[in-house]
């Protein structure tokens, strides 16, 4: 069954090819069926592969399929192979499974769009690239997938390219990601220089057996560079600014790419390279620190945003911060577990918000919503489940994964991590319920034109919602504390240190080892407190937020304007780069480069003209050239010795 793994990649590629090449001539329905069918088939194969893997004994759960050797030249070998192990098999299930639901949802959501086939072509292509990223057995293949998902993300953010904001957002995403990718590429090169191979198995084997001391300088640089790539792709400080803007894309895209799959690529990559990261405590600290700060930072921005999708975007950044925090303290399986549950409930939330937007004919501002509970009941119920899940109320999925991260951050990290994470959890519960209350509860603030068209979404949109709601409800049981199926399943990949053996504060281990249940109570309490506050502010006393905003004007303004980070970046980097490039353009480019390029072009043109004179069309001239050439060769042979 494991041999089928190639098919998982093949189906989406075929789907993309058919829709891309012939989509214009196909009927809309056919396009949708092809796209969904491709992902469905590949989901089916993914399940088969997963089962095949589970049937193996745990220590043998690593299957590599060499597809072909692309180029072999000297010591450089570019092979293409796929790797199925617990980590990648879990990822392909998430990607194809959630992807399949989102594809179905898209049929309804995008039905009126004239770029229907283009959309599905991109979406299939994205799924292919993401699977390539996850399944590749070496860094080069992963990098190709990494770049390809970036490209698809660019295409899909800018899907409605007639809108300037959308094409700007696409450009921003692309450029910001380039910064990260630069680091990633450098990291891969350094890996090749250090290990003389880019194959995962070989690199990790060499890293663990090769006598690299913990804290080795090269490894630290490698891991930092790789993490730089991860901050770009997974929207962490300082490269997170593209993700909120990326909400310009269609909502299912936000659900698939910018919540469930692509943005988690960074987490996947770090989990995949856990052997390297474990060798560098410094990088681990950086990862954990940036993760924790991002979690809190993004959550605080989310508190005051009014655009429903932007709130979710900041929430995504914040949750990704959690995952990095988990990886940073060495709890890779907790990170991956949260990745999975987050894929479920965040996809659900995005699709739910899409359903709301769909119902309100495109309205995204929560101040113009409210009281939608009765009008779109299915959306409301599923959305509620998603909100509860992300807020971390037991027994929903988000509770178990987030609780595990909180626990690990205390046990293997320190109190600072824990308190930041806990505060962020409080914020999360608050802003999510704020979103819920503003959208579904209270008085309706909906425009009455819009009100007339208010309708529940069609079946093909609500079905995925319900399935995802089910997953958000029960997905957490895979990681029950103490009997975590996920932990034991992933343990071969993380070599037993799913829970880190290194601990940055050894004392903490003993301190709280006996209190997982106490921790659960605390984190539940935090969540409930956040929900309660939101209830107070947005249901009980709807005038309170206004008052608070007036009172704490400065903080409110800073939060609303997202700490002015975009403005700061603009002033610091964008403008200075612009100014610098203007200078370069005026002075260097126009005068020197253009001058020389034009000169070269003129030279080539001149040369070309001379050649044209040579090309007379007369046989006698051509014969003469042959004679000249002959003499030239003779001269070379005679005197060139």
């Amino acid at each position: 069954m494991l041999n089928l793994v190639g098919l998982i990649l093949l189906f989406p590629l075929i789907g993309a090819a058919i829709n891309g090449l012939l989509g214009k001539r196909l009927k809309k329905d056919t396009v949708g069926y092809i796209a969904c069918g491709a992902i469905g088939l590949s989901f089916f194969i993914a399940i088969l592969v997963f089962c095949g893997l589970v049937l193996l004994p745990p220590e043998a759960r690593l299957f590599e399929k060499q597809l072909f050797n692309w180029i072999e030249s000297g010591s450089f070998k570019a092979a293409a192979g796929l790797q199925v192990d617990p980590l990648s098999s879990l990822m392909i299930l998430v990607v194809t499974g959630v992807g399949f639901l989102i594809h179905i949802y898209s049929i309804g959501y995008m039905h009126e769009d004239k770029g229907y086939h283009r959309y599905f072509c991109y979406l299939n292509l994205f799924t292919f690239s993401m699977l390539l990223l996850v399944l590749g057995n070496n860094f080069l293949l992963m990098f190709i997938g990494w770049e390809a998902v970036g490209l698809c993300s660019y295409l899909l953010i800018g899907f409605w390219f007639e809108k300037k904001s959308a094409s700007d957002a696409a450009k921003k995403a692309f450029i910001v990601n380039r910064v990260g990718d630069f680091g990633f590429a450098l990291g891969i090169m350094l890996i090749f220089l250090t290990f003389h191979t880019i194959d995962f198995t070989e690199v990790f084997h060499a890293a663990s057996e090769g006598g690299f001391a913990v804290g080795n300088f090269t490894i630290t640089i490698i891991t930092l560079l790789l993490f730089m790539g991860a901050t770009g792709k997974s929207a962490q400080i300082p490269l997170y600014t593209w993700l909120p803007d990326a909400m310009e894309g269609p909502t299912p895209v936000s659900a698939l790419i910018h919540a469930a799959t692509m943005v988690t690529a960074g987490v996947y990559m770090i989990a995949r390279c856990n052997v390297l990261y474990m060798l560098s405590p410094f990088t681990m600290t950086v990862v954990a620190g940036i993760g924790a700060v991002t979690a809190l930072f993004a959550a605080s921005i989310g508190l005051v945003q009014n655009d429903i999708k932007r709130v979710l975007a900041y929430s995504t950044i914040s949750q990704l911060g959690y995952m990095f925090l988990a990886c940073g303290v060495g709890a890779f399986s907790a990170g991956v577990f949260h990745l999975m549950t987050h894929a479920f409930f965040k996809a659900l939330l995005f699709l739910g918000s899409g359903s709301v937007i769909h119902a309100l004919s495109g309205e995204q501002d929560m101040r113009k919503m409210g009281g939608l509970k009765q009008h779109i009941p299915v959306t409301y119920k599923t959305f509620l489940i998603g909100t509860v899940a992300i807020a971390g109320i037991p027994p929903f999925a988000g509770f178990f994964s987030k609780d595990e991260i909180l626990l690990e951050s205390l046990v293997h990290g320190n109190f600072v991590y824990w308190s930041i994470a806990a505060l962020a959890a409080f914020f999360t519960a608050f802003y999510m319920f704020r979103l819920l209350f503003m959208t579904f509860h209270g008085k309706s603030r909906v425009d009455h034109h819009v009100m007339e068209h208010l309708h529940e979404s069609p079946k093909n949109m609500t079905m995925p919602l319900m399935i995802l709601a089910g997953l958000s409800f029960c997905g957490g049981f895979l990681g029950l504390p103490g009997a975590s199926a996920i932990d034991s399943f992933l343990s071969p990949v993380f070599g037993g240190h799913g829970h880190a053996e290194i601990s940055m504060s050894g004392a903490a281990v003993h301190q709280s080892e006996g209190h997982p249940y106490l921790m659960m109570v605390i984190s539940t309490a935090i969540a409930v407190a956040g929900i309660g506050l939101a209830y107070q502010m947005y249901v009980k006393k709807p005038e309170l937020p206004q008052k608070l905003a007036g009172q704490y004007r400065l903080i409110y303004k800073i939060l609303l304007n997202k700490y002015y980070i975009d403005e700061i970046y603009n002033a610091l980097f964008v403008n200075s780069v612009k100014k610098g490039s203007l200078l370069l353009w005026k002075r260097v480019d126009a005068m020197m480069i253009d001058g020389s390029v034009n000169g070269v072009a003129r030279l080539v043109g001149w040369f070309g003209n001379i050649l044209r004179y040579l090309q007379t069309g007369y046989v006698r001239n051509y014969a003469f050239y042959i004679v000249l050439g002959c003499i030239f060769i003779m001269a070379l042979a005679a005197f060139g010795r």
């Binding site: 090449l21 692309w70 070309g608 090309q615 046989v619 050239y625 042959i626 042979a637």
Partner: protein, 487 residues
Amino acid sequence: MINASIMTFNILNILPILVLAGFGMIVLVTDVLSSRKWVNRNILAYISLIGIIIAAVLTRSSTGTTLFSFNESFVTDNYSLFFNFIFLLCAGLTILISHNYIKREDINYGEYYALILFSTIGMMLMASGADLLNIYIGLEVMSISIYILTGFKRSKLISNEASLKYFLLGAFATGFLLYGISLTYGTTGAINLKQIASFIAEKGGMSDPLMVIGMGLLIVGLGFKVASVPFHAWVPDVYEGAPTPVTAFMSVGPKAAGFAAFLRIFLTAFGSSHLEWQKIIYILAILTMTLGNVSALSQTNIKRMLAYSSIAHAGYLLIALVSANDMGVSATLFYVLAYIFMNIGAFAIIIVLSRKGDECIQINDYAGLGFKHPLLAIAMTLFMLSMAGVPPMAGFVGKFYIFSAAIKSGYIGLAIIAVINSVISVYYYLRITVIMYMKEPAREFVPLTISPLMVAAIVISVVGTLQLGIFPSKVMEIAQRSILMMR
């Protein structure tokens, strides 16, 4: 004395050639009978294809051995078989793209197919020639057939002119080649490549200046066939004038055959004194690449552009010859195969778009093709990207191997010049893509009629281009095995 049993054994070695010759004659006879009701001209293409397939199967069946026959003047080894396969593929693809074209242009005569088969025989003889005379005979058989094919559009002046030019210059260049052969024979006393090699080894190098002159003249003669600068001047005129499928054929087949002979003569006979000729070929390679690419930049006619591009490709292949190592030879084999797919594919698209009396060969005629015929445009883009050497197309891998071979032999400067050249070439290849996708159509596209044979040719070319680009290692392995036998 001559032994009859040995003779029969020898005949088995040239069986593919005999089969092709037989089918060539069958085609001729069938054609003259086609005034009768029971013979149809349209089957001629199929008859020739059957002949090619049989020859290919026979070629395939004799791999893995090295056999000398006809007094050691003819050799059957993996090297020659690989090239034979290339020639047969080239002839087959040419017939696929010709079938409709020659019907439309009213030049549907059996001689067309027969001549393609005969010139393929000539190429096979060249690749299998173990002595200079045999190579020469092969070259003449190949060339004379192609001279005629070039002028096959008898009523078109430009075609006649091209044919005559090619013939006159070809005869001229052949004179140099023959003179080179006679000087080599005069100084070494042998025409057999191995005997020449052992003679030179005995003398400890090319002591006799006449021998060096002979070698130089051989370079002139073969340089003409592979269209190396400064023996290239005929190429644009002839390529432009010839019927388009013939252009496709001769931009690939004779070039491949020329390189087959070039490599065999210079690596076998003059292999020990490679320093003598490497510097000459080195300069020729630089001139050829650069002049080909620079001239291609300013062309507005796609056939002329491809003519210059084929000159440039000859330059890249000369690099492999300069490297004079195993990797260079196998890279040549790989590159020639890749070149067949991408070049014949590109010409196939040109033929599809042309109409009777309207060749549609201005580059601007391709404006807007991407919207009207997206599949054709994508195929054309693939071929152009491949020729420009963009991964993951066949052309990239081919160039990669050739440049690596140069670096391996220490010709880093040459490799750098080659890379710069392929950067220049990206401009004119991509220009076609840009025009196809970014420009409004300058003309109406009439509904196209594409015959199944043409579809087959384009599909084979696309698949080949991608296959060699994405999964090159298999073919490369075969290519590497081919040269082991040559020693």
